[in-house]
């Protein structure tokens, strides 16, 4: 695979999405018509930017993410990562993906799950061990390395998932509502973990969520999607200073202002989603 010249990447951005469209064919029993999930979506994400893709359920935000991750093919339009077009079914090396669902391998221990990518890449066992131990420590999972996923709580499992992706040090991180299934308290906890990890590495992140508070806490930018068919509706800048405190941030005046600003726009889409 030819590598992209750095100037080409620098010319634009890390991720470029251009007139992206995705239609699904409904089953014949439901009329067999095409359902448009994403329609004419275009946006760019710069290097080191943390972008939240926000919208009501079913607005196609996860579909966009999965197309960037090469998990599903677009109907039309282009996706470029570092200037190179992505092809369905051919994952890009510098891109990491964190699933919404728990996709840890249940037959592997926590350390073997985290070390999986290194194992695939043929990293020697000794080096693997050190890096896994460090990752386990960063995730606050010391002492759980030999446990199997089934004996961990949902929050712990999602931290393992995060470390399993981060261990190969991807420069771009795609996250599909990774904390969607967690309770509020655990979620806030995970925000702190993610913020501290991210503030050290500054990966380029595309984070899909329907939780406005989450988007405001984590992101530099919020791309708001409209209800189905999913289009980019608005682009908000989130200019809270970093490093951020996931809890204290919520008590600031600026947070409240931004919250109500985006909420108003988001609320319209929720209403549309309900009537559709």
């Amino acid at each position: 695979m030819p590598s992209t010249p750095p100037e080409a990447a620098a010319a634009c951005c890390r991720i470029e999405i251009d007139k992206l469209r995705k239609g699904f064919l409904a089953p014949a029993s439901q009329g067999g018509r095409e359902v448009v999930a994403v329609d004419d979506a275009s946006f760019r994400i710069n290097d080191g930017e943390f972008v939240a893709l926000l919208g009501p359920s079913g607005c196609g935000k996860s579909t966009i993410l999965n197309m960037v991750a090469t998990l599903i093919p677009p109907t039309s339009g282009d996706i470029r990562v570092d200037g190179a077009p992505v092809t369905f079914g051919r994952p890009i090396r510098q891109v990491g993906y964190v699933f919404q669902k728990d996709t840890l391998f249940p037959w592997r221990t926590i350390e073997d799950n985290i070390g999986y990518a290194l194992e695939l890449a043929g990293v020697p066992a000794a080096e693997r061990k050190t890096r896994v131990a460090e990752a386990i420590h960063q995730a606050g999972l010391d002492g759980f390395g030999r446990f199997y996923p089934s004996s961990l709580s949902g929050g712990m499992r999602q931290r393992v998932s995060l470390m399993r992706t981060l261990i190969s040090q991807p420069e771009i991180l795609l996250m599909d509502e990774p904390f969607g299934a967690l309770d509020t308290h655990t979620k806030l906890d995970m925000h702190s973990v993610l913020l501290s990890l991210w503030e050290r590495q500054r990966q380029t992140v595309l984070f899909v969520t329907h939780d406005l508070g989450e988007a405001l806490t984590l992101a530099d930018r919020i791309i708001l999607m409209s209800a189905r068919p999913g289009r980019v509706k608005q682009d908000f800048k989130v200019d809270f200073p970093r490093p951020r405190d996931a809890v204290a941030l919520r008590e600031t005046r600026r947070y409240a202002e931004l919250f109500s600003l985006v909420w108003h726009s988001l609320g319209e889409e929720f209403a549309k989603g309900r009537s559709a």
Partner: protein
Amino acid sequence: MRRVSTLLWQIAIGLGALAVWEWGWTFHDRLPWLVPDLLDPYFVSRPSVIFQQFLSMSCLVGRDGTWTFAADGAFARCMAKSENNLWIATYVTLRNTLWGFLTGVSSGFALGLLLGRSDRLSEIFYPYITAFNSIPRIALAPIIILAFGIGDASKVVTAWLVVVFLVFFNTFEGARAVERDHINAARLLGASEWQVTRTVIVPSTMAWLFASLTPAISFSLIGVIVGEFIGAEHGIGRMIIEAEARGEAAGMMVAVFVLMIAGVILSSLVRRLQAYLLRWRPAQQLSS
């Protein structure tokens, strides 16, 4: 407390059944409506007689009624007298059972994985597999004896035939049930097609394979015994057929008890192996 009372009940029921078996027939003439004809020692023998028979068949007690280990070389002389004595028969039957189990499990797993992961192959072979699966496997035993002779090979083949389908169907289901998300996760973490097979599809399918191991070992033993019924030089199955020909109920019963004990030991070993291999499963799933 509950465990103790359960144990007491179990012992009481066991002893009660043995007592009826031992002495029930003596009441047959007086109470014919209470004691069924089946309790006739001619058919089912008696626990005490069976135990005596066991001692002499196993060469623990010689023909003169003394313990063989008391006299020098008596055990060896007794053993040499029969080439299908209890020890040899048990050894041969267990060895063939194990071979049938191992070959059946490994080939069933390989076939299940292959067809389970290939829609094209499973589509083509589907009618044949359904057809073969509809044959009661035991019906093929005489053909196998004809083809492979009365030696060990035919017993292993019979056991293999019984085990392979069981394992195949379990593996097949398992291979189809591999979670799409696990495969995607592996791919996104950089796994090649071969690495996906080795690190996701095989281990995930193994869980289904392990679930079929306990029935597989019992099925294998059944296959071997049936093979021995039809024609064999050694083995417990042949021992039962011989005792039947002589009208020796006690001899048959000894063989049946040996099989029962062998079956219990084999399946508890397999269950332990299974529990170890599936230790990553949540506890409640293991106990069910």
